[in-house]
């Protein structure tokens, strides 16, 4: 058996595959990468919780043999917060999509980041609402076509990672479904990080986003990721003009973009609070 088949046998729920995702969808790659990262960290299945919202990406939780919940649109983070507060020993991973996380879930995103609670948020960013057939999200590049933007979108899109970092996230990373070994690595580091970790994964929805925006098929969309993802080390060496050129061309840095280990994690701070309360302070 291949490595992936071994991992599927170990970490996916028997009888729940095949998944619902389309041929060419990046979600399987991301979910596989999460599993590889968990395996790399040597976590026991009973010690992992995977909480998701609603959308194609959020179906991931049902396939995985951990403590899982496929909750409400945009609401994975507060429910995951409750799980973590109820049992801080759990490694809580949150799977969300670009719409789930930055539109309806935006408020919960900035507050989870602000609290620096030890959750690992993996945002499957395919720049579209896939499950409902191709509407635009706050991560859809301006000027794209979508079923609710027949004249192309006029809304600028979020810089999700800048938003999360400004809100207080202490581990910020970006991967793609093309650069898989790096993706596994940044997810594993995010899981290990004690604090709020966010990993944005640039993914492809060939059926809903790709088709409407003439991006070719799955292979072409993956090549687009190859050509637009720039390693952080390379990105950091670019001067301001080159960076501006890269940004204008739709390029983005990938890898661990920010990590801060000096901010107290929320559940640890709460344990101290309990101690103070019980000592009568």
């Amino acid at each position: 058996m291949s490595v992936m088949e071994d991992l599927i046998a170990k970490y996916f729920r028997p009888g729940r595959l095949p998944h619902i995702w389309c041929p060419g969808c990046g979600n399987g790659i991301i979910t596989g990468a999460i599993v590889k990262a968990i395996d790399k960290q040597g976590l026991a299945k009973d010690d992992v919780a995977v909480i998701s919202g609603i959308g194609c990406s959020s179906r991931s939780s049902g396939y995985l043999d951990f403590n899982t919940a496929n909750t409400l649109h945009g609401r994975a983070l507060p429910i995951a917060t409750g799980v973590k507060m109820g049992n801080p020993k759990l490694n809580v991973i949150v799977c969300s999509g670009d719409g789930d996380c930055t539109a309806i879930g935006g408020n919960h995103l900035i507050h989870a980041a602000r609290r620096n609670i030890d959750l690992t948020l993996v945002v499957y960013n395919n720049s579209i609402y896939g499950m409902t057939g191709g509407q635009y999200s706050p991560m859809t590049p301006k000027g794209s076509k979508a079923t609710t933007a027949p004249y192309a979108t006029i809304e600028p899109s979020f810089n999700l990672l800048a938003l999360a970092q400004a809100a207080g996230a202490t581990y910020v990373a970006r991967g793609t479904t093309y650069h898989v070994p790096q993706l596994v690595d940044v997810i594993a580091k995010g899981i290990a990080h004690k604090g709020f970790s966010i990993i944005e994964v640039v993914s492809a929805c060939p059926i809903s986003f790709g088709r409407q925006n003439k991006m070719g098929g799955p292979a072409q969309m993956m090549m687009w990721q190859r050509d637009h993802g720039v390693l952080k080390a390379v990105w950091d060496r670019m001067d301001e003009d080159k960076k501006a050129e890269a940004l204008a061309a739709g390029k983005f840095p990938i890898g661990v973009l920010y990590e801060n280990n000096d901010v107290q994690e929320y559940t640890a701070a709460y344990d101290e609070l309990i101690k103070r309360a019980q000592e009568g302070k």
Partner: protein
């Protein structure tokens, strides 16, 4: 050993929560429930529990649901505007069968309404606020001691039936202060515990029921029993199932889980009903007016009694029908434009006249006002 205190209704809810073993509160400040949040912020860490003031009302119930999945007894409190925001989460708790308690200290609505004045405008919303067919339990205290008792009962019912339980209060009860006797030691209070699986983890069906029960065992996350929570219609495995049969079976079990157990769930209080020829029906804050009005009526020789629903949902169908079988007329008194009365009219089905004294001008009715309405209805 016990102690006598002068407590606010909201404070009594807090003590009831602590006594019931609630170990997590997530919620948002909103008049007239804020004291519950403030007092639990103080009390929960003292008993090793956790309090979160969440970013919004939705996260309030969301964190509660998460904590319950992790095995903790969890509660939130709000008023009308927050109760409206929480509805989708409530539906998730219904279909995924997550025990939790939602306190709604009602105020005048809709929207911002009249934040510091009492009302009972969420009677129907408590039953039907969330979309889809669903079944849950709602209880309503009429005194400060009952705030303590019904919080304990709400937690116990939510654990026993794996459903959300709404503690429906109003600003009268939430903010009034009266005498309450509290045990010195909450350790002696029996703790409700949700059913745990006894099978091997690999055989666990998260939504499977044993020996004719309609309530599945619920292992906490991290216990060694791994399972899946979803808001999608699911079968006994807990995984989504999209067939028509699956939807029907799911609805039937979730409904009969509650409706098969009305004798256990539905409670009412009968006050001077034994020889009553006319009955008043009132609950929550409105009930306080009723006790006095009934006494005044009796002093004038009127054979009036008062039935107080303690359980608002499921509706006290049997009890209301019994009352209709005994008396010549019924007067429903509520602090809204008429919501509970609709159920009473339905259940009475024309057997006796049903009248309504609706009070919706920011205040409780006085006993004299209610007495005048009773006489009018009896005429």
């Amino acid at each position: 050993m016990s102690r006598i205190l002068l407590l606010q209704g909201n404070q009594a809810v807090v003590e009831g929560a602590i006594a019931a073993g609630v170990k997590f509160y997530g919620g948002y400040p909103i008049t007239p429930s804020t004291e519950i949040a403030e007092q639990l912020a103080l009390r929960l860490p003292q008993v090793g529990g956790k309090f979160m003031q969440t970013e919004d009302e939705i996260a309030g119930l969301g964190t509660v649901i998460g904590a319950s999945m992790a095995g903790k007894k969890a509660m939130t409190a709000t008023s009308g505007p927050g109760f409206s925001l929480k509805q989708e989460m409530l539906g998730l708790a219904c279909i995924a069968e997550i025990p939790c308690v939602i306190v709604n200290v009602q105020r005048v609505g809709p929207a911002t309404g009249q934040p510091t004045s009492p009302a009972q405008g969420e009677v129907m919303q408590a039953r039907w606020g969330t979309h889809g067919d669903h079944w849950l339990i709602t209880v309503s205290p009429s005194s400060v001691p009952e705030c303590f008792d019904l919080t304990l009962r709400a937690v116990a019912l939510s654990e026993k039936y794996r459903c959300p339980v709404i503690l429906l209060m109003d600003e009268v009860i939430g903010h009034m202060r009266e005498k309450i006797e509290l045990p010195d030691n909450y350790d002696e209070i029996p703790q409700a515990e949700r059913k745990q699986p006894t099978c091997a983890p690999e055989d666990y069906l998260a939504y499977g029921c044993e020996d004719g029960s309609k309530v599945p065992a619920m292992a906490p996350f991290g216990s060694g029993y791994r399972w899946h929570v979803t808001g999608l219609v699911h079968d006994e495995t807990g995984f989504p199932k999209g067939t028509g049969a699956a939807t029907k079976e799911s609805q039937d079990r979730l409904r009969t889980k509650i409706t098969d157990n009305l004798d256990d769930i539905v409670q009412v209080e009968n006050y001077k009903m034994e020889d009553a020829e006319f009955a008043v029906i009132a609950f929550g804050g409105a009930a306080r007016t009723a006790y006095e009005a009934i006494d005044m009526a009796r002093a004038e020789g009127l054979k009036v009694g008062f039935m107080r629903p303690i359980t608002i949902w499921p509706f006290a169908e049997k009890q209301i029908k019994e009352v209709a079988g005994k008396v010549k007329g019924i007067l429903v008194h509520e602090l809204n434009c008429g919501q509970y009365v609709l159920e009473v009219e339905r259940a009475v089905a024309g057997k006796v006249p049903v009248s309504l004294f609706a009070k919706y001008d920011n205040e409780s009715a006085t006993p004299a006002e209610l007495l005048a309405e009773i006489k009018k209805a009896m005429a």
